[in-house]
Symmetry: D2
Subunit: 145 residues, 4 copies
């Protein structure tokens, strides 16, 4: 079912450019991980979390620990995509986010076809040592609100 | 001098994500070519030219023939950039576009620091043979308007 | 356990360059999908299957349908990686490949630390319609040999 | 004229993979900057300069200040390329490198067609401040030998 505002935490729209495609004439599958991350970054920003500031202020960065993605239909140059962000689990040092990429179609650019979806596990680590650490309290609060 | 609407044909804003950076902690220089192209694509779209439709309808695609870029200051994660598009020369089979990437700063997100700039020469070719060809008349009209 | 020739079908060595890293100072996780694909491509080539020739001759291309990857330790600029290819399942229209990326260390450049591993499901489709199709018999023979 | 060992400082061979191509069916032009950099990195390594070690030991990194590239013929999936490195000018804080990408053809994989060429200006900077600095003496010696 296409996403509605009621069912996902955040929606990010993006356009497919030449850089995203491969010689198959479609979006190179690895690039959905980039699209998913752009959406997560904007979701964090919408909650007041800037990752560069987070690192500068607390020494914490988020890293991706596991990705599981299904690639269902090809996206093409000039397609408009909607990428969703839905937290499945928010722990003290890690989180799991479910994400989908939809092709927007028609005059109202509604999400019509599911192109790819997956679950992304993210951990909070120290930027210098890459050792796991608890998320800064202020971030955990914003994510749990 | 920062760009004003009077002096450039098109402005495109974009955000710097993890995917754009390298281990120097800044945007990987080759990615400015991607940023420039996103801006050119949106400029064409603003003129009513969709590159996928152009190819499907006329068999023509634009390819990049030459790039000359200066990288002046580093951009960082979460920076908001403004990328300008200024046609320098529009011929029947090729065009030259001058482009700049600025960092937007302050509460009004105005372009404040020039990060990179360059000239991009683009040619129109047949999508199958890659042989140079005239731009479709409808495209040339829109570009010259 | 580090890979040995007895246990994997193919080993591909590659170097980490600036283009592969991100502002965390390590390899951007999405790039392991690229590394895995380079290794699969070289594995196919070692079996006598060139993907460009396959497409030109039969109209068939391989596409990635699903990826499941664990990112375990960060790789850094200049690291030498060994990427393994181990077919888990070879069907008539799809295959599943298990892959690992190891950091090579020491004077003998042996694989020492597991950096990332995952399972990649690949399908054979028609290059024009993206509809699933059986692999050309000559390819299936080479993969099953 | 195709390169010979007598006329260039270093030759690097690489293969074109799916990740390098775009929907035009050919190598995405921005990726020649990556190919050029891989060749420069291996050239430096051949002289005994590891960039990660350079940074760890001296705090110096090389950054690209200017690129000027002509894209002459398209490269395709599975093509084998030879990328040349020819220093034009080696200063105390910067260098200019001329580079070419050739398609290797025939049973001997000799460079046959020039695909892209350009000049790359590189500067030595402090990794933390990005301010220009002299190259460490040991590096300058190796480059000038």
């Amino acid at each position: 079912m296409p996403p509605t505002e009621a069912r996902v935490a955040y929606n990010h729209r993006l356009r497919v450019y030449w850089e995203d495609t491969d010689a198959g004439g479609v979006v190179f599958y690895a690039n959905y991980l980039k699209f998913f991350e752009r959406a997560r970054t904007e979701w964090l920003r919408s909650l007041g979390v800037s990752q560069q500031a987070l690192r500068d202020d607390t020494g914490a960065i988020f890293i991706v620990g596991e990705t599981q993605v299904h690639y269902r239909r090809p996206a093409r140059l000039d397609d408009l995509l909607l990428v969703t962000v839905q937290p499945l689990d928010i722990g003290r040092a890690s989180l799991v986010i479910r994400q989908q990429a939809w092709r927007c179609t028609g005059p109202t650019a509604d999400p019509g076809e599911l192109l790819a979806d997956g679950d992304i596990r993210i951990g909070c680590v120290d930027a210098l040592t890459f050792r796991p650490r608890r998320m800064p309290a202020v971030v955990l609060e914003k994510l749990s609100a």
